[in-house]
């Protein structure tokens, strides 16, 4: 029970920022704007759900933004090539989606193997893969932008712009993934092992937990999440470049921490991460809806709100404890 009360912190912060939005501009509450916010937050949100697993296991993944850019680039190139020989656009898209998931899982596996089997610090491994994926996508695009053929994107774009019951598809994906992640983290043996490995790797090892397997799986879940984010990102603008996904890793980590997951590992909250991702997107949206803040100070306001959100989140945690 106390656990549930403790995790309410990020939601209080979310509600406060939401109220700020209502106060700043009445257009904030328009259904179009709310749908935009939700759809937009789904990229960082989905990536951050994966990051919740890696961070809970005591690791960190800095490569997610570059990985997203690289996978986007590969998907676009693959679809453009396949379209020359396969007539059905739907089949082309399905193959690209499968390829994307495979690549995400593989990229996660590589990060995981390097941290566990080669025993290199996750920070260094993923810093390395981050640089590799980023320059690979720049290379593939010749320094420019990879664009999806218009005919394919006409069909594929409905994945981002379409909706079911008035709610955009990306939001449904985000929600579905969050439910699955919550169950995996809180209702399964794997989840318990994940918490154990994150709080003390040694003790877990002595308790006959396969710590290496748990860590590799956490990185693979992260890779899977990145590929899902990519699958709904590509149809938005139908392009990828060296600038795609820049700083996603920091936004994802920020969302995880705002959500109440411990950066040192051992404790994770999926719904907190969802709230964290929404908070980050809301801040950007609210700043665009007002001219009260000088453009030059946007970053400062963002920083202040993030810190305030964490303070609110932790204050609430403490009150319940005492």
């Amino acid at each position: 029970m106390t656990l549930n009360k403790k995790s309410i912190g990020p939601f209080i912060a979310l509600v406060l920022i939401f109220l700020l939005g209502v106060f700043v501009n009445e257009a904030f509450l328009s259904s179009g704007n709310l749908a935009n916010i939700l759809a937009r937050s789904s990229f960082i949100g989905i990536v951050a759900i994966g990051a919740t697993f890696v961070i809970t296991a005591g690791g960190i993944d800095l490569s997610v933004g570059s990985m997203a850019a690289f996978i986007s680039g590969c998907m676009i190139m693959l679809m453009n090539v396949l379209f020359q020989s396969i007539n059905s656009i739907i089949i082309v898209i399905c193959i690209a989606v499968l390829a994307s998931i495979t690549m995400g899982l593989l990229a996660g596996l590589i990060n995981g193997l390097l941290t566990t089997k080669a025993k290199i610090e996750a920070f260094i491994v993923t810093l390395g893969t981050m640089g590799i994926y980023r320059s690979l996508v720049t290379f593939m695009a010749d320094g420019g932008t990879l664009s999806l053929s218009f005919t394919i994107n006409d069909v594929y774009s409905s994945v981002y712009y379409g909706d079911f019951l008035g709610i955009p598809y990306p939001v449904w994906v985000f929600l579905g993934l969050a439910v699955m992640a919550y169950i995996l983290m809180n209702k399964t043996i794997f989840g318990r092992h994940l918490f154990a490995v994150g709080s003390s790797e040694k003790v877990s090892l002595y308790s006959a937990i396969d710590t290496e397997k748990i860590k590799i799986l956490a990185f693979m879940i992260q890779g899977f999440c990145v590929s899902i984010a990519t699958i709904i990102y590509v149809p938005r603008l139908g392009s990828a470049s060296g600038q795609t996904g820049v700083l996603w890793e920091l936004e994802a980590i920020a969302a995880v921490i705002i959500g109440g997951t411990a950066l040192k590992g051992g404790y994770g909250r999926v719904w907190g991460t969802v709230a964290g991702a929404l908070i980050l997107t809301l801040i950007g949206n609210i700043l665009n809806l007002t001219d009260m803040v000088s453009n030059y100070l946007n970053g400062a306001v963002q920083g202040l709100i993030i810190i305030a959100a964490v303070v609110i989140q932790q204050k609430n945690g403490e009150q319940v404890k005492s």
Partner: protein
């Protein structure tokens, strides 16, 4: 004592190798031109690298006695290192440089200049303009004014617009000032301006928010083609393409293609050509080989690209 000797030996070896390579390579080329540009980290810089490569191979096949060394750097300190290498290893006779940052590279370029190298600066000026022998640049202020004049004309000096700016830098500031100076005394109202960081994703989100905030927008000044692509998607999503038009900037092939096709949403574009690196390389080569007087400044204008003249600015092979 021991480690000192080791270092000495290594120095001697490096010296010997570079001396050897000098002896081996120097005589075969009469002149060496060093070109230092930022790496292709975004669309415009990608175009820059494309044109630099193309010009390099063209010039080298045209003038067998010319050797061109192209160095790309992903930040200012890397570029300063490149300059040292160009000078000491390649012994360049002339340098064409697009500085990453004006202030940080002023000192390193001055060092190159002191060794008697002819220096051509491209686009971003150095803090001390007396260092350069020749300057090739676009005109950011004019780019802003040309865009503003078009919008002013289309809107009959009356209407509501939004502006998506680049990043807080000198380039962006000059464009913005040029633009505002033209619309200052008109009835055109700037509803708001926000930074979109010269990329498509931010162009998309900032425009989405402008669209939900302002029920009526007559024109959008995106001042960059990458931002414009994001803007176009956001406008389409909101199904408001009939109410407004978008003016980008740069000369990206995707936008030029739209202009060429008479797209109502992007009726024009304003040139800020990454090909200016070719201008600089060609003219510096003339200086080296023909010793024709190349001095002062060469400022490329920013013409308005319309449906009629779009063909002249369309490079389908360029990544930009």
């Amino acid at each position: 004592m021991k480690p000192k000797m080791k270092i000495g030996a290594r120095f001697r070896r490096v010296f010997a190798i570079s001396f050897l390579s000098l002896v081996l390579h120097a005589p075969s080329f009469a002149q060496t031109l060093g070109v230092s540009v930022p790496a292709a980290t975004h669309g415009w810089a990608g175009g820059l690298n494309f044109h630099a490569e193309k010009t390099k191979s063209r010039l080298e096949s045209q003038y067998p006695e010319l050797k061109i060394i192209l160095a790309t750097a992903s930040n200012a300190s890397e570029q300063a290192n490149d300059l040292e290498d160009l000078l000491t290893i390649h012994q360049i006779d002339a340098l064409v440089i697009l500085p990453f940052e004006s202030a940080a590279l002023t000192g390193p370029v001055r060092n190159v200049k002191r060794s008697g190298v002819f220096v051509t600066v491209v686009d971003r000026g150095l803090t001390d303009p007396s260092i350069r022998d020749f300057y090739v640049a676009g005109n950011n202020n004019q780019m802003g004014r040309v865009s503003a004049n078009y919008i002013k004309g289309r809107l009959d000096e009356n209407g509501k617009i939004v502006i998506l700016r680049g990043m807080p830098t000198v380039i962006d500031e000059q464009r913005f000032e040029g633009f505002m100076s033209v619309i200052a005394d008109t009835g055109i109202e700037v509803l708001d301006s926000q930074y979109a960081n010269w990329n498509r994703d931010d162009g998309f989100t900032v425009m989405q928010d402008f669209l939900s905030r302002f029920p009526k927008i007559d024109a959008v000044w995106a001042q960059d083609d990458d931002i414009a692509i994001g803007v176009i998607q956001a406008v389409r999503q909101a199904r408001r393409q009939d109410e407004l038009f978008v003016v980008g900037g740069g000369g990206m092939k995707d936008i030029i293609r739209r202009v060429k096709g008479g797209d109502k949403l992007t009726p024009v574009d304003v040139l800020y050509p990454p090909g200016m690196i070719s201008t600089a390389m060609e003219l510096t080569t003339i200086k080296l080989l023909a010793d024709a007087p190349i001095e002062g400044e060469y400022i490329l204008s920013s013409p308005l690209i319309t449906e009629q003249n779009a063909d002249d600015y369309y490079f389908p092979d360029s990544p930009f």
